[in-house]
Amino acid sequence: MSKLVVTSSPHIHDGRTSRSIMLDVVIALIPVIIASAILFGPRALLVVAVTTAACVLSEYTACRILKKPVSTNDLTAVITGILLALNLPVSIPLWMAVIGGIIAIVIIKQMFGGVGQNFVNPAIAGRIVLLISFASYMSNWSKPFSYLNSSADAISSVSAVTAATPLATMEAGGELPSLINMFLGVRPGCLGETCALAIIIGGIYLVIRKVITPVIPLCFIGTTVILTWLMGGDPLYHLLGGGLLLGAVFMATDYTTSPVTTKGKVIYAIGCGVITSVIRMYASLPEGVSYSILLMNILVPHIETLTAPKTFGYKGAE
């Protein structure tokens, strides 16, 4: 008789690991990445690769410097990298994309304690820092398929054909793309935000694989659509025009920065929707999804405390 392992119960596990969950998120993002490559050209893939590499390397370096176990294996840095890229215009200078990745991982994630400890979504914080620092580069929108016409090497050159996003067009007035084009993503915008079809496919995959529940996406999207409509906007263009779908499906549902309680998820998502609508309709910015998620991220601990479930039998017999 050799050694018997002695541990606390339970002695079995359902087999689902954090890594497999994160791998599911990466899989769910693949349709969005493919759509971005079709719409904005091979440079989209380059941007994704660069931010992902920047995030993973930052994670590795930060863990080594902070003398913590290296956590690159859990794939969370990969997801942050992909999401950051999907929130950038295709024309972004690559060094800026790298800075975004470093900020997201080193400052937002690792300095606050690493995976599960960051108080805001790293990809969103990275995007917002870039947006504030390099406003013009961050709103330099290429027209879809314009890479096909540019003569120079499609990967290295930045397309000259630019246009305003549908949300900006709505604010300024002008001709909008057809709804079917909006749904398929044939409109200017960030890499991953334009193709609603791909995002919905990814979202359905996440729900089927039980990575997320539909609560946050549905409440977030529903609130924004209804409120923008009540405020006099066109709800369908608000649904498809900005980063709402990408934000609601992939960013607002980030485990670490969203409430764990179901009631909390509802409050959080409605809050995101309200802030997004108000920014879009009344603020000087055309888009508010990132800011709304960032602001609601900060409120998560309080939302959780207020929505703690009542334990079984807390007031006696029903």
């Binding site: 018997l4 596990h13 764990v260």
Partner: protein, 443 residues
């Protein structure tokens, strides 16, 4: 009346634990009494028993060898006939020490001469019989059955629930009881209901035990004098947890810190009620237990009747020994069972299974950082927040722990079973309870 009905309520959460009930079709076999048994004097919650025999005494099967005057306790009987070799201290698997009586088998298997059927005419008779039978609950704590049945007349207990859910993976000992002696279960229920003036009886069995349901149903069809229903519970862990069973069966919630009797229910294990009737009809107390011996490291999985105090090694040997090296040895099921470090540990009244897992079956906790996915909340049947409780426990925030109602945790293991970061959450829940208890007593 006397029907198979669906649960009144759906429980929240729960874990989709595998069933592994491969011993379900295996008829129980009685193992020959071993050379020696080790009978600990603490096999229940409450006061430990004091040995009533001394080294050198001859004892017979069913003879009382340990007892106490304390109310919350249950007498302990000899499980074999033979000579008391010695009385010494033993370290139990829960980390507590107590006296244990070592008895050498004389091979005669002779029963104690005073064993005879008991006549039950009143509630007092029933309670006395329940105590004398030595029966305790098997829900981990080992709550003496006679204490459970000693309800005050003003408590309005109207429902007797028999727990045959057996939601733990592997274990089929209760299932075998319902197949092999359904008439004893029904007769025992009838007696308890009559003496305690309880109007309604419910047998809760999970839907993955169709033969048990059928056997009891058949029994009920022949006996229509009592109001007993069978509730077919969904085959999902932890329907066998007392509070969950009551909720599923009646829709009533046991208040936090309260007892089932507070909401008019008494819950008895299906084997306990059967053994109680067996005692009343024959006078034979609880001296042996049916154990499911299973797991990848067991050569011949079986349901075995083993004398209480039989050492694990003897039982495993009866089941053909080990197949390869066992990595983990459990008394009880894999969700709530206690892992053992010593094969010489004796089995007690509360045990219903020995599970030996191979290295492949042993899940190794490589604790990773919490990603706050919230799965522990989703699966918690008590609607607790394990993720938040863990954080509060680590910083010793007793006020927060109190607010988070951690004392309501029943340690079912669902949170740790579902945690994708392999965190031993159930252990953290236990720690948190201990922190609260220590603080509570130091004030």
């Amino acid at each position: 009346m006397n029907n198979v009905i669906q649960p009144a309520r759906k429980i929240k959460g729960g874990a989709k634990a595998p069933h592994f009930k491969r011993t379900a079709e295996m008829e129980s076999v009685v193992m020959p009494a071993p050379e020696m048994v080790v009978i600990p004097m603490q096999q229940h919650i409450g006061a430990p028993c004091k040995p009533t025999v001394k080294a050198g005494d001859n004892v017979l099967v069913g003879q009382v060898i340990g007892d106490t005057d304390a109310f919350v306790s249950a007498p302990i009987h000899s499980s074999i006939s033979g000579k008391v070799k010695s009385i010494g201290s033993i370290l139990l698997s829960n980390g507590k020490k107590c006296d244990a009586i070592y008895i050498e088998n004389d091979g005669k298997g002779e029963f104690f001469r005073e064993i005879r059927p008991v006549e039950i005419k009143s509630k007092a008779d029933l309670l006395a019989a329940a105590r004398a039978s030595g029966i305790v609950g098997i829900g981990g704590a080992g709550f003496p059955t006679h204490v459970k049945l000693a309800i005050k007349d003003d408590m309005n207990v109207d429902t007797l629930i028999i727990n045959g859910a057996e939601c733990e993976p592997y274990i089929t000992s209760d299932y075998r009881e319902s197949i092999e002696s359904p008439e004893r279960i029904i007769a025992g229920m009838e007696m308890v209901m009559k003496q305690l003036n309880i109007s309604r009886g419910i047998v809760g069995i999970e839907s993955n035990k169709p033969q048990g349901i059928a056997a009891i149903k058949k029994c009920l069809e022949q006996n229509t004098s009592v109001d007993i229903d069978i509730i077919e519970l969904p085959a999902m862990y932890p329907h066998g947890a007392e509070k969950m069973l009551i909720y599923a069966a009646t829709g009533r919630q046991v208040p936090m810190g309260g007892l089932p009797s507070d909401i008019g229910c008494i819950v008895m294990n299906i084997t306990s009620v059967s053994v109680l009737y067996h005692y009343i009809s024959t006078g034979k107390p609880l001296f042996r237990k049916r154990l499911t011996v299973d797991g990848g490291a067991i050569k011949e999985p079986k349901n075995v009747f083993a004398p209480i105090g039989t050492r694990i090694s003897d039982i495993v040997e009866f089941c053909g020994g080990f197949k390869g090296e066992p990595t983990k040895l459990l008394l009880g099921g894999p969700m709530m069972g206690i892992s053992q470090y010593d094969l010489e540990m004796p089995i007690t009244k509360q045990n219903n299974a020995i599970i030996a897992l191979t290295e492949k079956e042993t899940f190794v906790t490589l604790e990773q950082p919490c990603i706050r996915c919230g799965r522990c909340l989703c699966v918690c049947p008590m609607s607790l927040m394990p993720v938040t409780i863990e954080r509060s426990a680590k910083i010793g925030d007793t006020a927060a722990l109190k607010k988070l109602s951690v004392s309501n945790c029943m340690e079912c293991g669902c949170c740790a079973f579902a945690c994708p970061s392999m965190r031993p959450l159930t252990q953290y829940m236990k720690d948190a309870k201990n922190i609260l208890m220590r603080k509570g007593t130091s004030k």
